[in-house]
Point group: C2
């Protein structure tokens, strides 16, 4: 191998690697309507469309079993996949779950994991239809695939936004990230002194955002009831800034995002202050909130205004105007794709 070129994966980053691996990808089947590049693949299926998405979670990379209960982990592993289907304006119907486990885990521990998986299936009306169970020499690995459905005139892609469309976000942001910070802090206190009990009282909201997130099927239902079909949509897994950039890139547009409009729960705000973090930065770059970010036509504004679940945070604009974050005092700067991983590294180093 000595004479062959060696390019480090870090030099490309996750998105760069995916782009490199998929840029020559072509489809042979008529039923493949959308392959790589959105929250889910889109497959023609008789009178409707099927949606397909998949995610893999690894112990030590995506979760830390020293503070994540197995039942919560099972629940979250399902929910983060369902979120990808809802981000296409679809409904999740079936999942497969593959796990790899070492003999460190007992049968009871795996039953606990599955109790969370089944609870998510029950809460979201999804069927577990298959999977794979195998040995692992290292930690726990969970891979979930999900199939959803959507009518052809309701499917929403990342690429459909138009200039002047309103940029809307569901719920509030940054909570999952602050929950993670609290859990990491208590873990390090515990490692230093195992006699000290974790002090997590009064932080239920942000802890739940991290440990037991919900996917926003209620927003898909709400939009349907309001007769609003978003022009573009994505779920917020890597952080608001990263997702705004995805919608802009794929729609060939720029955007203005108003800092003061970004919804932040008071507890998230307070915990960020406790950690000497800027709550706005946490809301922009903290990942794993699994809220929906979408665009709607200006003419739909009357339908969504005043709804406590929805916040207009900006609007789309010409590509040449760039993607701008506008501060309360009117200053603006280009939104950067800091993303979840980079943000984590930065804050942990």
């Amino acid at each position: 191998m000595s004479k062959e070129a060696r390019t480090e994966i870090d030099s490309l980053g996750e998105f760069g690697l995916i782009k490199l691996l998929t840029e020559k990808n072509t489809s042979q089947n008529e039923s493949t309507l959308k392959a790589v590049g959105d929250d889910a693949a889109v497959i023609r299926s008789g009178d409707h469309l099927k949606l397909l998405s998949t995610d893999m979670l690894l112990e030590g990379v995506h979760f830390d079993l020293s503070y994540v209960p197995l039942k919560h982990l099972g629940y979250k592993a399902v929910v983060v996949n369902l979120s990808d289907i809802y981000a296409m304006n679809g409904r999740a119907k079936q999942i497969t779950v593959s796990i790899a486990i070492s003999n460190r885990f007992s049968v009871e521990a795996i039953e606990e994991l599955y109790s969370g998986i089944y609870l998510a299936c029950s809460n979201y009306g999804v069927d577990l239809v298959g999977g794979d169970t195998s040995a692992s020499r290292q930690g726990l690995v969970i891979s979930v695939s999900v199939i959803g459905e959507v009518e052809e005139d309701k499917v929403v892609y990342r690429s459909g936004a138009h200039e002047n469309d309103l940029l809307v976000v569901s719920g509030d942001l940054g909570g999952a990230y602050m929950g993670l910070q609290l859990l990491e802090r208590e873990k390090s206190v515990f490692v230093d002194n195992p006699d000290i009990q974790p002090d997590l009282d009064g932080n239920d909201y942000v802890l739940e955002r991290q440990l037991k997130p919900e996917a926003r099927i209620d927003i898909v239902d709400l939009l349907n009831k309001m007769e609003v079909v978003p022009t573009s949509m994505i779920d917020i897994s890597d952080g608001l800034a990263s997702e705004v950039i995805h919608l802009c890139d794929q729609s060939g547009l720029g955007a203005n995002v108003y800092d003061e409009k970004i919804p932040i729960d008071p507890m998230t705000y307070q915990r960020a202050r406790d950690f000497e973090l800027d709550p706005g930065v946490v809301a922009l770059n903290g990942g794993e909130d699994y809220e929906l970010l979408f665009t709607v036509k200006q003419s739909d504004y009357d339908k969504i205004k005043g709804n406590p679940n929805l916040t207009v945070i900006g609007h789309m604009q010409n590509k040449d105007a760039g993607i701008q974050l506008i501060a309360k005092n009117g200053t603006q700067h280009e939104l950067s794709a800091q993303g979840w991983d980079a943000f984590l590294k930065q804050n942990r180093s």
Copy 2:
């Protein structure tokens, strides 16, 4: 945890664990026609059925990169999933591929892996439509999910066999296992003395069976052309004995399997002898051949007889008669579900 019960996973085995985890599983969606328990899940989809299957492969458990080229690994990771769709008499259409990689891998190495994935897609007419890329702290993990299609009157389950149906296998068996034995032997020679070059000449067939298996879409095509719809079918991933038992259990039947009828390639036979293994045992219990095992009505015998790709190895019978392996001299014994993992352990210990 000290007072809680702890049951070891080994005490249940893989099939026991899956049974425990899925025995209370129920479906909420009308479109879920078949959930856990066959080669693929079956989902109603307008005028046809969609099939869904998934598999996860882990370095150090399912493959050894010291002798498996990455391109072959990518190819095989796809093919083993396609095989599950063909085992339902369906056609594979779309796949997702998730990988977890450590920084030990270069971009060029991952491109090599994907060149195998794309080659399999091209050869089998399948589209890569999505996936997930993530960091791994340990080895390489590959999770593939596949979607296929089948007409409702063509889908074949494991459970559909009837008494007196003929038991038929495609191709020949045991080759992949002997390929693995050769590779493992050369690896241990190399570990003992790195100056010795591997001696794999003249073993192309069995090595290819292990390193670059093919899935039998040609058999699905052949049966369709012959107008034969099998009454039950499964792919041979864990070994013939294990798969015969699956068909019998799920169809509520017994079977007679005639030892001398089991197809074994001359090279497989010779290599087994070299290793002082019984070729019949290798063919019965060696896994990863990815041939199809199926049953057909007696009345279809005339359609399949004489075809060089198909061998009748026995017939189904009443459950009370058990699952019998009949030797050439007429002696018979109950076929045991030794399976791939157990066989491996036994032969390596």
